[in-house]
């Protein structure tokens, strides 16, 4: 009767919290850069733009996703990560230090920092992958586990390409293949790592959390295959300088449009239309993904040059929307679950761990940040407003997470255990 889900050896709550609490700190850093350097951030390949992109995709998006994977591997995989506490401390420390080093390397153009960043980030990601991949290879019946494996392999390749490029930045010599490496780095990172993981998490959680009709088996089996084939062929075509590379981008866009429409359909036709902030984040996230895809399509057709930065901003916001929505769901669950497992009477209901009022506040602040960031390519100074919204948003997120951690700690220290009636 085992269905592949197990919380029997769930990692301690601090394992996941460590990654989640770091996310808003990087969010505050990016917001500060948006306030002080709006034009530079919107200038392609500007050092501050590159620093912001890496703070965003590594410090926020990857930090949240790696934290969630620590939990998901144990829950879905049935094979827990060995020594989760120690391993999470090693990975988190290397990752955090590496992200700071990389952002500083870009901002201050210090060659040695590129090498330090490459070593730290490379170590964090290789170490993470060598722990998770053998566990995911052991038991592969579950589609989400297969999707997770594909995403982690993509993260590993993205990191290797990043290390190669970091050495170019450190030597300040860029070979002929730099542009190709860069295109491969961001294609695999954005699609193979970020989008694929979110899609396969959606396949698992949307129907489970929101009582929707299940995704079709065809989708679950073939999305990863289509993405893997399109990405591999795109890179092959790029390096071989073959024509019609856009065909592979077209296939990826079609897959993601298919995912967006099918997810939106399920969320809108769910059986019980209960108001839940995490659903708002999912719906907004899917909407942002559609904007990212359509603006990317527009830029491929050379309709308007500013559609390309808008596409990247919308894609980042899509990922953040899903991550923030899921964090608002995962953290109360983990606090509730660990306290109930330990038998504490005072365990609050999940909706009291992070009050709905504050979750709604994060949603509306995120909407304000997203709206202003989306129009920033056309009016760069509005990025200052977006940054201010970001400061408020990530301050509230940090407050929510630290309060949840304090509540957990307080009940653990002062709580009383269940008393059983005879």
């Amino acid at each position: 009767m085992f269905n592949g889900l197990s919380l029997d050896q769930a990692p301690p709550i601090s394992v996941v919290l460590r990654f989640f609490i770091t996310l808003p700190l990087f969010g505050l850093s990016v917001s500060a850069l948006m306030i002080f350097f709006p034009s530079e951030i919107l200038t392609a390949n500007h050092p501050i733009s590159l620093a912001s992109i890496h703070l965003l995709f590594l410090g926020m998006i990857s930090m949240g996703m790696i934290g969630a994977l620590f939990q998901m591997q144990s829950v879905l995989g049935g094979a827990p990560i060995p020594s989760p506490l120690g391993n999470s401390i090693i990975i988190h420390t290397l990752l955090t230090a590496g992200i700071f080093a990389l952002a500083s390397a870009f901002m201050f153009q210090v060659p040695t920092l590129f090498i330090i960043a490459a070593v730290l980030l490379g170590s964090a990601i290789v170490y993470f992958a060598q722990i998770l991949l053998p566990l995911l290879l052991r038991k592969m019946a579950h589609n989400t586990l297969q999707g997770m494996r594909f995403a982690i392999v993509s993260l590993l390749i993205t990191a290797i390409l990043g290390i190669v490029m970091a050495t170019s930045y450190a030597n300040e010599t860029f070979g002929d293949s730099h542009a190709l490496l860069r295109a491969s780095h961001y294609s695999i990172g954005l699609i193979g790592w970020v989008a694929a993981l979110i899609i396969y998490v959606a396949f698992q959680v949307v129907e489970m959390f929101y009582v929707t009709t299940p995704y079709s088996d065809w989708c679950k089996h073939n999305v990863k295959r289509l993405l893997a084939a399109s990405l591999s062929l795109k890179i092959l075509w790029l390096f071989a300088a073959l024509p019609f590379v856009w065909v592979f981008d077209g296939v990826i866009i079609m897959v993601l449009i298919g995912f967006s429409t099918t997810t939106m359909k399920r969320l809108r036709s769910r059986k019980r239309r209960v108001s839940d902030v995490s659903i708002w984040f999912w719906i907004l996230g899917i909407g942002l993904l559609m904007i990212a895809l359509l603006s990317h399509l527009g830029s491929m057709l050379n309709i308007y040059p500013l559609l390309e930065p808008m596409s990247l901003i919308a894609f980042a916001l899509f990922s953040l929307s899903i991550i923030l929505g899921m964090m608002g769901k995962i953290i109360p669950f983990l606090v509730w679950f660990h306290l109930n497992s330990a038998g504490y009477m005072e365990t609050p209901i999940m909706s009291n761990v992070i009050p709905q009022k504050r979750l709604k506040m994060t949603f509306w602040l995120f909407c304000s940040m997203a709206l202003t960031a989306l129009i920033a390519p056309f009016y760069p100074l509005i990025l200052i407003v977006s940054g201010l919204c970001g400061v408020m948003l990530f301050s509230v997120v940090l407050f929510n997470l630290t309060n949840a951690a304090k509540l957990y700690r307080s009940i653990l220290v002062n709580g009383t255990k269940f008393t059983f009636e005879p």
């Binding site: 009767m1 269905n3 889900l5 197990s6 919380l7 029997d8 769930a10 489970m208 959390f209 929101y210 009582v211 059986k271 019980r272 209960v274 839940d276 769901k329 109360p332 669950f333 509730w336 679950f337 109930n340 497992s341 330990a342 038998g343 009477m345 209901i349 999940m350 269940f418 059983f420 009636e421 005879p422």
Partner: protein, 80 residues
């Protein structure tokens, strides 16, 4: 027997309602939970807090979980 049908409820209500009912369960009571999937997290909480359960998949998307605090109760008698 106390019956709790949570099939139509969004996460996390099924888990919260079941644990709430379990906390109030006396030794002689039996709780029958009807769920749309097998609630694995529930089992860990029950196992760690003196609960015993029998989980059965009745049909596709219908699970019956019979829960008690009585270690001597033969849950097989409650098999559907």
């Amino acid at each position: 027997m106390i019956l709790l049908d949570v099939r139509e409820l969004d996460h996390p209500l099924p888990l919260e309602m079941t644990i709430d009912a379990f906390k109030k369960l006396s030794n002689s009571d039996v709780l029958r939970l009807i769920h749309r999937r097998e609630p694995i997290p529930l089992f860990e909480i029950l196992a760690k807090n003196g609960g015993f359960y029998l989980s059965q998949e009745i049909s596709d998307g219908v699970w019956h979980i019979t829960i008690t605090r009585d270690p001597h109760l033969d849950l097989e008698l409650y098999r559907v």
